[in-house]
């Protein structure tokens, strides 16, 4: 019951979250903001268009959007955004989640290379590069969490947290910063990529979508908004898991509480993201490694801090 509600909610409000971020950005850059529903409109429009597919695009190219969407929905089903007793969550812990995202990334890159256009391949190359730099950092963040709560499956993490009302461990701060940096990188936001631009030489994510149109494009866009949403939820589960309905909680009240908490967190997070994005400038593509190395370093620092301060390791 939680399970499907959660998935439905994720699918529903992911584009809204995206829209909310762009709205905040527009405000901060005092542009006139598009309405919140803008992304829904765009999806509808795309779904109704005729698809134009390159002459010798293979099945891989046409199948990829569905795979992307599928993986993201599955991820949403695993991440405890509202509640923790998710039967699906048994299927994959956080590491498997990273694997799931990697699958999506690989498929997208392959699809981008399928047509054989210069930009597609370039985008794929950059995307994979960012990917293999971001994953170690993310893993280190998870390591922190594991050291704290002795589990890599997110629902159990949240339960653990709820079980003992500890003060925030100092290592968490490092980890959180690292996580935010990874989140920006993985979701093609400034400072690594610019979701708004179509300036060929700088784009990464967009470059891979050049050949997509209509329903395929719609699915990809939806998937990427879901990805951002999922990442946000992972962040919440790791660092501010308040309000998530833990084990045994049932009935309407916790549900409403959880939804409210989620919406509130998303609002704040969206605003914060927009703020970061507007404040920072896009990096040259070869500065990206340094950026992600920084993230990795922070995560490791968190780890060491934790081990040094000798918090109880095996919870």
């Amino acid at each position: 019951m939680w399970q499907f509600g959660e998935v439905a909610l994720a699918i529903a409000i992911a584009p809204l979250f995206m829209g909310w971020i762009s709205q905040c950005r527009a405000w901060m850059q005092n542009r006139s903001a598009p309405p919140l529903t803008q992304s829904y409109r765009m999806l509808r429009k795309l779904f109704h268009k005729d698809a134009a597919v390159a002459t010798d695009a293979s099945l891989l190219f046409r199948g990829t959007p569905y795979v992307l969407f599928g993986t993201m929905v599955l991820a949403a089903a695993i991440i405890p955004s509202l509640a923790t007793d998710l039967p699906f969550a048994r299927a994959a812990d956080a590491i498997a989640l990273i694997g799931l995202f990697a699958t999506a990334r690989v498929f997208l890159s392959l699809a981008a290379m399928d047509i054989g256009t210069a930009f597609g391949t370039m985008g794929a190359r950059r995307e994979m590069m960012i990917g293999f730099l971001a994953e170690p950092a993310l893993l280190m963040v998870l390591f922190n969490a594991f050291l704290l709560y002795g589990s890599t499956s997110l629902p159990n993490l949240v339960n653990e947290y709820a079980a003992r009302h500890t003060v925030i461990d100092p290592s968490v701060i490092f980890a959180a910063v690292a996580f935010v940096m990874v989140l920006l990188a993985e979701n093609a936001r400034i400072p690594i990529d610019n979701p708004g631009t179509h300036l060929e030489l700088t784009m990464i994510h967009e470059a891979m979508l050049l050949e997509y149109s209509a329903r395929h494009l719609a699915l990809v866009e939806w998937a990427s908004s879901l990805k951002l949403f999922n990442y946000a939820c992972i962040g919440f589960a790791l660092f501010l898991p308040w309000g998530i309905a833990t084990h045994g909680a049932d009935g309407g009240v916790p549900l409403l509480a959880a939804v409210a908490a989620l919406v509130a967190k998303l609002t704040v997070a969206g605003a914060a993201l927009a703020l970061i994005e507007s404040l920072s400038a896009k990096l040259r593509i070869f500065r990206a490694p340094e950026y992600l190395a920084m993230a990795f370093l922070l995560a490791v620092l968190g780890l060491l801090v934790h081990l040094l301060l000798g918090a109880n390791i095996n919870a």
């Binding site: 005729d50 994959a92 498997a96 290379m113 256009t117 391949t121």
Partner: protein, 681 residues
């Protein structure tokens, strides 16, 4: 898989036929097959359509027997053949460890032999019958290596393996590069073998007993135990392609015919892993955590090294060879970790790490042979090995492309395929390293996990490059226009391996159980707890982590299906074919695609320290600009060439001894006499 079929029934009713005898029969059968080819030396038909399929059947039966043995978790069987040295007849032994590797050999061998049946064409290089002989001797010797229970038989089989594979590698011996590669390979193999021999010499421990049983009993001082371990590490590392003993590997694998490369990379390297496990966990009874740390470091370094070099290759088989180095590195990382845990008395985690290593060996033997065989088909279809001349083959050879895609995703370590399972297990076991009792280890080793993550992600990068450049995009050469798809035998072989990748991916419980049988025997009872249904696997405790490839697969498939239907329903837009848009750039030629070098560029940029690069950039005013880059292994110049030069110098010095003047020769004798007289004076 085979295990899976049997697990249900067999465990209850353990059959009475001794598995070892069956295995030996198969081995003999292989040798007979090899010799049978010599009856009609040059008829390809007999060899291809009769002998190789029969060999495949042999492999299959080996897999079945080993699988049953593991499933039933039988007691180990021993046998003595009246051959070999007078005081030392051939001892054979089948226990769970050897059974696991025989299972590996059987499963991978089945696919490879089936493929080979369709692969070998007539006319080029060695006569088919000779190839058949060498091929099956190679198979048989690998099986014997795994079954051997005394040092002599082990060494004989080991060197026979090296020899037969050498002849297979040089089957195209008209080409000088191939001869050079073969020479380097055999040289390294021989040196490694001598190291292993010396290792056995150390372990014999007093009594001239070379049976493994006697070695288990031998008591060694820490110094000699470590000496044995190091010798073994060097010897088996040289065979496995552990950096810095890896130089032969990227030379020999591309040189060999594809089924042979598949066999070497898929199975032969694993025999080295087997030997390492046999010695460090079974024969040596004292172990030290330093060994584990060393192995862990070497493994991680090799893995990183292999991944980085694979990323910048422009020859598809070379790329795969380096990726083999990477995977071997991962396997050794697992073994090292297991040693660490085991020496720190954490048997459960040791079992976890060891299972990860074992399962990764099995997985690697599946997807790596799959990919090597796929390159073989590509080679036959296009006569191109250089990535710069391939592309767009997914349209010409859909079968190979599809099956290769499975292998690519699997080796990239993506769920829900098998590559992810082992890497996931390894990462899980890394999570427990903070519990190591050593101050520095428990801080440093977690970084190993990060390195591992980097390596896995890098391998994903490499594989995207591999697949994208060969099968996707536009054909880079006009000649690719009439590439043909693989024939049915080749498809069958590829299909078998691909099926293996998927099956292990969604049902890892089976192999996990098999690995459990091994770890249970090796680590004295410790095995990964299988508190897990057919749905999920739970390595340590359900609270900590669980994974289910099956659910993931079903989930993805389900969601994709539903979305597809919905989209079909709601979106009533047609689909029309046009030219690619590409930012409205009209003049597209295949040469404008990103090349293999281009895909390697970020890696070159980031890990420049690893390479020796020679670049030749075109000048802006160049009418037909040409860009050439040559990447070289630093270790080659840093390590191997100096060695060769040193030997040369010493040889020249020795040459001075023989100056051709008789008086000087007499002087030598004279001085020798005087010196010896002084000795006895």
């Amino acid at each position: 898989m085979n295990a899976h079929l049997y697990i249900s029934g067999i465990t209850s009713s353990a059959i009475a036929v001794p598995a070892l005898r069956l295995l030996l029969i198969v081995v003999a059968f292989w040798i007979v097959l090899g010799l049978a080819g010599l009856v009609r030396p040059c008829s390809l038909r007999v060899v291809a359509h009769l002998l190789f399929p029969l060999g495949a059947a042999g492999c299959l039966s080996v897999a079945l027997v080993a699988g049953v043995f593991l499933a039933a978790n039988r007691m180990s069987e021993v046998m003595i053949l009246p051959l070999g040295l007078p005081s030392l007849p051939f001892h054979l032994r089948l226990d769970t460890l050897s059974a696991f590797f025989l299972l590996l050999l059987g499963i991978a061998g089945t696919g490879i032999s089936t493929f080979a049946a369709g692969y070998f064409r007539s006319g080029v290089g060695t006569a088919p019958a000779l190839l058949c002989l060498q091929y099956h001797v190679f198979l048989a010797s690998m099986a014997i290596v795994i079954l051997a229970d005394d040092a002599y038989l082990f060494m004989v089989a080991w060197e026979t393996m090296a020899l037969s594979s050498y002849f297979l590698v040089t089957s195209q011996h008209r080409i000088p590069e191939i001869r050079r590669a073969g020479f380097l390979y055999l040289l390294m193999a021989h040196l490694g073998a001598i190291c292993i021999l010396l290792c056995f010499g150390v372990m014999q421990g007093g009594s001239w007993q070379f049976t493994f049983d006697a070695m288990r009993g031998a008591s060694l001082t820490p110094f000699w135990a470590s000496a044995a371990f190091l010798l073994a590490l060097v010897g088996f590392g040289a065979k496995a392609g552990l950096v810095p003993m890896h130089a032969w590997l990227p030379e020999a694998h591309p040189a060999a015919p594809s089924p042979v490369s598949a066999m070497m990379s898929g199975i032969m390297l694993k025999t080295a892993v087997y030997g390492m496990l046999r010695i460090s966990f079974d024969l040596l009874h004292v172990r030290f955590w330093q060994w584990g740390a060393l192995m862990l470091a070497m493994g991680l370094f090799s893995a990183l090294y292999g991944a980085i070099f694979a990323a910048v290759q422009t020859d598809m088989k070379r790329l795969l060879a380096y990726s083999s180095i990477e995977n071997i590195g991962i396997i050794f990382t697992g073994i090292g970790l297991a040693l660490l845990f085991e020496t720190c008395h954490l048997p459960l985690f040791a079992a976890l790490a060891l299972s990860a290593a074992l399962i990764h060996s099995l997985n690697h033997s599946l997807f790596k042979s799959l990919l090597f065989l796929a390159t073989g088909s590509v080679l036959h279809a296009t006569n191109q090995r250089s990535l710069g001349k391939l592309g767009g083959l997914i349209r010409r050879m859909p079968w190979v492309a599809t099956l290769a895609l499975v292998g690519t995703l699997a080796i990239a370590g993506l769920p829900p395929l098998n590559g992810f399972v082992s890497e996931w297990l390894l990462l899980q076991s890394f999570l427990f390293t903070p519990q190591l009792p050593h101050a520095f280890l428990n801080m440093l080793v977690p970084l190993g996990a990060a390195a591992l993550a980097l390596i896995v992600a890098l391998s994903a990068y490499v594989m995207v490059k591999f697949y994208g450049v060969i099968f996707l995009g536009q054909p880079r050469e006009a000649s690719l226009g009439h590439a043909h798809d693989a024939n049915w035998l080749e498809r069958l072989g590829l299909g078998w391996l691909a099926f293996g990748c998927i099956a292990i991916g969604i049902q890892p419980q089976i192999v996990l159980r098999a690995a459990g049988a091994v770890t249970g025997r090796v680590l004295g009872g410790a095995a990964v707890s299988l508190r897990s249904s057919i749905w999920t696997i739970v390595p340590i405790a359900p609270g900590q982590a669980s994974y289910s490839g099956l659910i993931l697969l079903l989930g993805i498939v389900g969601v994709v299906g539903i979305t597809f239907v919905l989209v079909r329903f709601l979106a009533h837009g047609r689909m029309r074919r046009t030219d690619p848009w590409d930012c409205g750039y009209p003049w597209q030629t295949p040469r404008m695609q990103d090349t293999a070098e281009g895909l390697g560029q970020p890696i070159r940029h980031m890990f420049g320290a690893f390479f020796r690069m020679e670049r030749e950039l075109p000048s802006p005013s160049d009418v037909n600009p040409r860009y050439r880059i040559h990447i070289e292994d630093r270790l080659w110049r840093a390590l191997y060439l100096p060695m060769a030069r040193g030997v040369q110098r010493l040889a020249d010095m020795a040459g001075l001894l023989q100056g051709g003047r008789l008086a000087i020769y007499l002087l030598y004798s004279f001085l020798t006499l005087i010196v010896l007289l002084v000795f006895v004076l």
